[in-house]
C-alpha cells in the first residue's frame, strides 16, 4: 500500500498542517511497517508526481482554505484517487462556519446566535450604523472570527462596541467575511467522530482550559499553556448530549470518515455547536490524538483503518 500524506500548502495554517502530517505519517509507518508512506506538500509539482506514481490513497491534512474547503479533494476526485475524509461539497458546507451553523441549527443542535458580514457591508452601510445594529441584535460580548479558517487565527472576544473595529479588522485579515457570534460562557470541549463499520462514533470529549482564558494560537500550539481533561469533566447526561451533537453534526453536514466538532457547554448544560473540522489537527498538542489515546485507540492503527476504508470505496 502506498499512502501519500498531503500537508503544508499556502494557508496561514501551513506550519500546523506540516506538523499534523509528520505525526500522522510517522504513526502510520509504525502501525503498518510494510506500507510506503510519503509526505508531500501541495505545489505545482504535485499533479505530475501523482500522475507519475499514483498512491493507493491520499490523506489530506491540509488545514485552512484549499485543504478544508474541498478544492484539493475535487482534484483528487477528478484523478480518481481515493482519499481519507469528507467529499468536496460537504467540505464547503463545513468549512464556512455560518453555513455549517445554519444547517446544524436546523438539525436541532443549539448554536450561539450569529451574523456573518463581509467588509463590503460595513463600507456600504457605514460601519458605525452596522456596529450599532450588531450591538442591538446580538449584544456584547461577541466572538469575532473569519467565517473560513481555523487555529483561532483572526479570532477575538469583543466586550464592547469600542473594541469591535479592532476585532473586525483582525478577522478581515484572514478572510473577506467575518462572523460575529454571541459569546457563551461555559466549558469548552471538542469531540472527535470516527466512522466505524456500523456508523459514526463519538470519541470521548476533551475539555480545554487555557491558562489565559482564550484558546488562541499560542494556547493551542504551546505545550503546557492549556490544561486538558479527557474525558471532559461533564455529567454523564451532558457528555452523552455532546457526543450526540457531534455525531449529528457529522451526519447532517454529510461528513465522511472523521471530523472534530468544537462545542461549548453553557452553564445551564446546553451543548452549543461552534464549528467543525474536516481535517482535524493531529499535532502533539491537538485534540483528536488525545481523544484517541484516552479511548485506547492507536492513532496509526486508526488512520490505517481509514485508509483501508477509503481504498475499499473505489
Amino acid at each position: 500500500m502506498q499512502v501519500m500524506v498531503l500537508a503544508g500548502g499556502l494557508s496561514a495554517e501551513r506550519d500546523v498542517s506540516l506538523r499534523s502530517g509528520r505525526r500522522v505519517a510517522e504513526a502510520l509507518r509504525t502501525a503498518r511497517p510494510d506500507w510506503e508512506v510519503v509526505e508531500r506538500d501541495v505545489d505545482a509539482g504535485l499533479l505530475t508526481a501523482l500522475a507519475d506514481d499514483p498512491p493507493d490513497c491520499v490523506i489530506p491534512l491540509l488545514h485552512g482554505a484549499a485543504g478544508e474547503d474541498g478544492a484539493v479533494r475535487d482534484v483528487m476526485d477528478c484523478l480518481g484517487l481515493p482519499y481519507v475524509g469528507t467529499r468536496p461539497n460537504a467540505c464547503r458546507l463545513a468549512f464556512d462556519k455560518a453555513v455549517a451553523k445554519t444547517l446544524v441549527r436546523r438539525a436541532g443542535v443549539a448554536t450561539p446566535d450569529w451574523v456573518a458580514l463581509p467588509h463590503a457591508t460595513f463600507r456600504e452601510l457605514g460601519a458605525p450604523g452596522v456596529m450599532a445594529a450588531l450591538d442591538r441584535g446580538l449584544g456584547f460580548p461577541l466572538v469575532v472570527k473569519p467565517t473560513r479558517g481555523g487555529s483561532a487565527l483572526g479570532v477575538s472576544v469583543v466586550h464592547s462596541r469600542e473594541e469591535l473595529p479592532s476585532g473586525m479588522v483582525g478577522a478581515f485579515a484572514y478572510g473577506d467575511v467575518a462572523m460575529l457570534e454571541r459569546f457563551v460562557t461555559g466549558t469548552e470541549i471538542a469531540v472527535g467522530v470516527i466512522e466505524m463499520a456500523d456508523g459514526p462514533v463519538a470519541l470521548p470529549a476533551v475539555e480545554i482550559v487555557p491558562d489565559g482564558g482564550l484558546y488562541d494560537y499560542a494556547a493551542r500550539y504551546t505545550a503546557g499553556t492549556t490544561q486538558f481533561y479527557v474525558p471532559a469533566r461533564l455529567d454523564a447526561a451532558v457528555a452523552q448530549a455532546a457526543a450526540e451533537a457531534a455525531v449529528t453534526v457529522h451526519q447532517v453536514l454529510g461528513l465522511r470518515d472523521w471530523s472534530r466538532s468544537d462545542l461549548i457547554v453553557a452553564d445551564d448544560g446546553t451543548v452549543n455547536f461552534l464549528e467543525v473540522n474536516v481535517a482535524p489537527g493531529m499535532t502533539e498538542t491537538s485534540l483528536v490524538p488525545q481523544e484517541l489515546a484516552a479511548s485506547g485507540i492507536d492513532m496509526g492503527e486508526q488512520m490505517a483503518v481509514l485508509v483501508e476504508r477509503a481504498t475499499a470505496r473505489v
Partner: protein
C-alpha cells in the same frame, strides 16, 4: 508520554520546571505566517539571508575538501576557546577596512557574532541592568538581552541613527528611577532594521555619551563592508579601544552558514569572554574557522565583497525604485546606503502586524515593526529586506505589498483603525533560515 493526572494534562510534564525567562517562549501566529514565506510562490522581503549563491562555491568546496584531506587531524579536533590564532590575525586585516587596529590577542572568535552578543551580555548584565538600544533594534540582540532579563530601553533614532541627546536623556531617566545602566548597543552602519548610518560626527557624539556616563558601548558591525557609496564607515572602535567592544561577522562577507564571527575587547573583558565561551561551547568550530582562514588566505576576498556590494546595490535600487513608483501616498521609507534593509512607515492608522496575514495571502512577506521593539512600538512600521530575492522578484513583491496596503487603507477607512494587539508583544522575527 505526557503526564496524566486527576487534574488533567498539560501535555508537557516539565511545565512547572521551566525558568521564568522561558515564559515568553510560546508558539506565535506571526512565526506561523513566516513559515509560508519559504514557499517559492511568496516573494519574501522578510528574512535576512545573505545571497551566498554569489560566492565562488567551487573554490570553497575545494578548500573544505583540502582541509579535511591535508589537515583533518587539526580541523576535526577541538580548538582554542579564543579561536584559531591565524584566523585572529587575518581578522585584523579585515577590520583594517573599518579603521580598527588591534592585536590578535584582542580578538575572540565566536560562533557567529550572535554568540559574541550572548557572551558580552552574560559577563556584564545582571537581571534588571539597563541596556540602551536603538528604536528599532536588531531582533536577535533584543532576544539575548531579554534572555538575560535586562531592562531594555529604546532610544530614538533620526535619519543619522541613534540620537545622542536622546541617549543621554534616557540614561539620566534610568538613573533617576534608581536603575542600573550598563550598556549601549548600537549598529552604526546600515542599521538592522532601519537601514540608517551614523556619520563620523554622530559616532563621535555617541561615544562621548558612553564615556561621560561610564557605559560600555557595544558596537555591532555585520554590514560595515557592504556600503554602496564610498569606503566603509570608520568603526567607533577605531577611535577608542577601552570603551567599545566591537562585534564583527563573516556571515555577510563570506557565508552565514559557517557561523564565524568575533569580538574585539579590552584585555580584561576579553579574558572573561574566553572563559565564558569555553563554558558555553568549549571552542568555536575549528572546521568553520579554518575554512574561513583558508578562504581569506587563498581567495580574493576583497573582490568578492565588491561582488556582494554590487549584488545588493542592484537589489536596493530595485526596491527603492519600485517603492517610489508603487507605494500609496502617506507611505515613507528609509534609503539605505548599504546593508540589507529599508524601514517602511505605513500611512497613518495602519498596523503592519495586523496586515501580515493579508500580505501572506497576497504572497508577499515582510517583518512587522513590532518585532524590533520590546515595548509595543512599531505597529506603524515594517522591515523590507532586499538581500535575497532577484530584482524582478523584489519589484513584484513591492507591487503585491502596495495592493495589500491599499486594501488596508480601505479597511481603515471603514473602521478607523487597524490596531489589533492580540499577540504578546516582544521581539519576533522569522527563524534564521526563513527567506
Amino acid at each position: 508520554m505526557a503526564e496524566r493526572t486527576d487534574s488533567g494534562t498539560r501535555l508537557d510534564p516539565w511545565v512547572d520546571a521551566y525558568a521564568t525567562r522561558a515564559r515568553g517562549m510560546t508558539a506565535s501566529e506571526i512565526r506561523a505566517l513566516f513559515s509560508v514565506a519559504s514557499r517559492p510562490e511568496v516573494v519574501s522581503l522578510a528574512g535576512g539571508m545573505p545571497f551566498v549563491q554569489a560566492l565562488p562555491l567551487e573554490a570553497l568546496a575545494e578548500t573544505a575538501a583540502r582541509l579535511v584531506r591535508e589537515r583533518g587531524a587539526q580541523v576535526l579536533q577541538y580548538g582554542s576557546g579564543q579561536g584559531d590564532v591565524t584566523l585572529r590575525g587575518q581578522i585584523l586585516d579585515v577590520m583594517s577596512e573599518v579603521g580598527i587596529t588591534a592585536h590578535p590577542d584582542d580578538v575572540v572568535v565566536t560562533t557567529g557574532s550572535q554568540m559574541a552578543l550572548d557572551l558580552v551580555t552574560r559577563i556584564f548584565c545582571d537581571p534588571g541592568d539597563v541596556v540602551f538600544v536603538e528604536a528599532p533594534s536588531y531582533v536577535g540582540a533584543l532576544g539575548v538581552f531579554r534572555a538575560y532579563e535586562c531592562d531594555i530601553v529604546h532610544v530614538p533614532m533620526d535619519e543619522e541613527g541613534l540620537v545622542p541627546e536622546a541617549l543621554a536623556e534616557a540614561i539620566a531617566q534610568a538613573r533617576a528611577a534608581g536603575k542600573k545602566p550598563k550598556m549601549i548597543y548600537t549598529i552604526p552602519s546600515f542599521q538592522n532594521p532601519a537601514g540608517v548610518t551614523q556619520g563620523p560626527e554622530r559616532r563621535h557624539r555617541v561615544l562621548e555619551v558612553a564615556k561621560r556616563e561610564g557605559l560600555l558601548l557595544l558596537e555591532d558591525d555585520p554590514y560595515g563592508l557592504l556600503g554602496f557609496d564610498g569606503p566603509p564607515p570608520r568603526a567607533i572602535r577605531a577611535d577608542d579601544d577601552e570603551q567599545v567592544i566591537y562585534l564583527g561577522s563573516f556571515s555577510k562577507t563570506i557565508a552565514s552558514g559557517l557561523r564565524v564571527g568575533w569580538a574585539v575587547a579590552p584585555h580584561g573583558v576579553r579574558e572573561k569572554l574566553v572563559l565564558a565561551a569555553e563554558s558555553a561551547v568549549l571552542c568555536p568550530s575549528n572546521y568553520a574557522q579554518l575554512t574561513v582562514s583558508e578562504y581569506l588566505a587563498t581567495q580574493p576576498w576583497r573582490e568578492q565583497v565588491k561582488v556582494f556590494r554590487e549584488v545588493y546595490r542592484e537589489r536596493r535600487d530595485a526596491l527603492l525604485e519600485s517603492l517610489e513608483q508603487l507605494m500609496p501616498a502617506g507611505t515613507r521609507w528609509t534609503h539605505p546606503a548599504g546593508g540589507f534593509y529599508s524601514w517602511v512607515t505605513l500611512p497613518e492608522g495602519l498596523d503592519s502586524k495586523a496586515m501580515l496575514p493579508r500580505a501572506i495571502a497576497a504572497l508577499v512577506a515582510y517583518v512587522p515593526g513590532t518585532g524590533f521593539y520590546v515595548d509595543g512600538q512599531g505597529h506603524e512600521s515594517l522591515r523590507l529586506s532586499y538581500c535575497y530575492p532577484e530584482p524582478d522578484r523584489i519589484r513584484e513583491g513591492v507591487r503585491r505589498l502596495a495592493g495589500v496596503i491599499e486594501g488596508e487603507l480601505d479597511l481603515a477607512a471603514t473602521f478607523g483603525t487597524g490596531r489589533v494587539l492580540r499577540d504578546a508583544e516582544g521581539p519576533e522575527g522569522p527563524a534564521p533560515n526563513i527567506l
